[in-house]
């Protein structure tokens, strides 16, 4: 199957939904593609439409009025036929084709069946979001240890609390909504271990003062956690998980200023489930092979470099939301709308929105980007986190490469970045292609630079059988 339009949007999260809605309102024909079963991405992850009565999740969400308004706009455009919505479609590669782009996806709505799909348009917006950044620790690969995003996806997408006694750890404000959601679904959250010191926020009063909505959000979570008696421990980290076949015990310890554990502070907590997240890594798999430049996002990761209209340096290629640096859903919605206005402008479409509304969006982006920078500085990776690892701690979960092996590869100077470590040790060569261990391997060998992922020409596995079904002779592209 193939289809074409004026704009392909990859990712139907906050940025992609807002971009598609704005572009459609401006008169463009839009193809919106996402691997999920419903609109919303990770932040607004929902069960499929027909399952929402059986799996109620509205109380776990934030900003739902915006989500519902965007859904209504997109539905209206789907009825007129100008929006082609492709859920359960996994984009595995993109290519330049003439003056535009060919976006190759697999329709996996009847998985494991795969049907190849090609989408063509002169403009491409990549709004593929981000995923949890992980730092390894002894026992982190035991069953029952999940990313906090994984815990949240099971809650929001399936109505399932993954454990009964849960300890969360890592850094950043995302720990709080996940703790609140678990508590709301009956799990006992025994501790939330935040590695940062709350006083770090006092060094950034201006971004805080200019974003009062963030206070309200934080206060709401604090209220939920207080009601469920969930203790939040700052300057504390999960430094180990133990159990036979699944996690049964968590080791937590207080941290000193550089992130080393303070002697004598380690405690053992019984738990059947652990959730860990150290901020996020932008999902750049589609952007890097297209030649998109990257920029330091300020949180130890590289993100897509864009101008103030969300244009990358590649003509016709746009990026919005977490791909441009992690900053939250409100920012993503504004960036998505701005990106769509740039597409309308660049394609010389008559349907551009009014200037005043656009100026307000730019002001919102500036405000939220400043907040994101302050957040990154207030919630850094602890400098000494690797001191929590023993030589036999797994770093690469897929290829089972230990911290000792990674250290040995870099000790004699033979490997100075994660690509060289991969060649020497196989770390990052397995199923996930380094998406999980890459940031950690990078920190172990080159911590002073932000992490840039390896170029991955195939963004998600596709079978030869699925590709063989791509019969371009039956295409309907116009």
């Amino acid at each position: 199957m193939s289809a074409s339009g004026d704009l392909v949007v990859v990712g139907a999260g906050p940025a992609g939904m807002a971009a598609a809605a704005t572009a459609l309102d401006g008169g463009l024909r839009v193809l919106l593609v996402d691997s999920g079963a419903a609109l919303g991405g990770q932040f607004w992850r929902h069960p499929p439409q027909q399952a929402r009565h059986a799996i109620p999740t509205a109380d776990l969400h934030h900003g739902l009025p915006t989500y519902r308004a965007l859904c209504a706009t997109l539905s209206a455009h789907a009825r007129t036929g100008r929006l082609t919505l492709l859920l359960n479609h996994h984009v595995w590669t993109t290519a330049r084709e003439g003056d535009g782009f060919a976006v190759h996806a697999m329709d996996r709505s009847r998985a494991p069946e795969e049907t190849a799909v090609v989408l063509r348009a002169p403009a491409l917006l990549v709004a593929t979001g981000a995923y949890d950044r992980q730092l390894p620790f002894p026992g982190w690969d035991l069953p029952g240890v999940l990313t906090i995003g994984g815990l949240q996806s099971l809650l929001k997408g399936g109505g399932v609390a993954a454990g009964r006694r849960v300890v969360l750890g890592g850094t950043g404000p995302f720990l709080l909504p996940v703790a609140a959601a678990l508590a709301a679904r009956g799990a006992e959250v025994v501790a939330v271990c935040e590695a940062a010191a709350p006083s770090a926020w006092l060094r950034h009063p201006v971004p805080l003062l200019r974003n009062p909505a963030k206070w309200v959000e934080a206060a709401r979570y604090a209220g939920t956690l207080a009601r469920h008696r969930v203790p939040v421990r700052t300057r504390t980290a999960i430094v180990g998980a133990e159990g036979d076949g699944r996690v049964a015990m968590v080791r937590v310890a207080s941290l000193d200023a550089d992130g080393s554990t303070l002697p004598g502070t380690e405690r053992r907590i019984e738990a059947d489930t652990v959730g860990v997240g150290w901020g996020f890594v932008p999902q750049l798999d589609l952007l890097i092979p297209l030649g998109c430049d990257l920029a330091d996002a300020g949180d130890g990761t590289m993100a897509a470099a864009v101008d103030d209209g969300q244009r990358t340096g590649v003509p016709g290629l746009y990026a919005a939301g977490e791909t441009c640096g992690v900053g939250g859903a409100v920012l993503a919605v504004s960036e998505g709308a701005i990106a769509a206005v740039s597409v309308l402008t660049d394609l010389r479409s008559p349907g551009r929105p009014n200037v005043r509304r656009l100026a307000a969006k730019h002001a919102a982006v500036a405000r939220h980007r400043a907040f994101a920078r302050a957040m990154a500085q207030a919630h850094p990776l602890p400098t000494a986190w690797s001191s929590w690892l023993t030589d036999d701690t797994l770093v690469c979960r897929c290829e089972e490469v230990t911290a000792g092996a990674v250290r040995a590869a870099s000790a004699d100077g033979s490997a100075s970045d994660h690509r060289q470590v991969k060649q020497l040790t196989r770390a990052g060569m397995g199923w996930c292609q380094g998406r999980m261990c890459g940031p950690a391997v990078h920190c172990l060998v080159a911590r002073d630079q932000p992490y840039a992922p390896a170029e991955r020409l195939i963004a998600t596995p596709a079978t030869l059988g699925g590709l063989a079904g791509l019969d371009e002779s039956t295409t309907d592209h116009v």
């Binding site: 709505s109 998985a111 995923y131 995003g149 994984g150 993954a162 076949g245 699944r246 996930c432």
Partner: protein, 87 residues
Amino acid sequence: MSEFTVDGEPLPFVPGQTLAAALVASGRVAWRTTRLGQRPRGVFCGIGVCFDCLVTIDGTGGQRACLVQARTGMAITTGEGDDECIR
């Protein structure tokens, strides 16, 4: 009632849940072992990035349980080696 089977045993699910959500709701935390150390694996990232939660669906291996919507009558098999698809 909606059901699929896991290694021959029926497992109920709520339509709209992924295979991983249904497996976790049933109390399962691991259903695969790694190639070298035979370490147990289940859901880790929950959003299709880590590939820990692989299962075989109706005979096709290497499927991420966290991404596939459960459907009545699916036959899930677990615990098989994960190396057949990449080597």
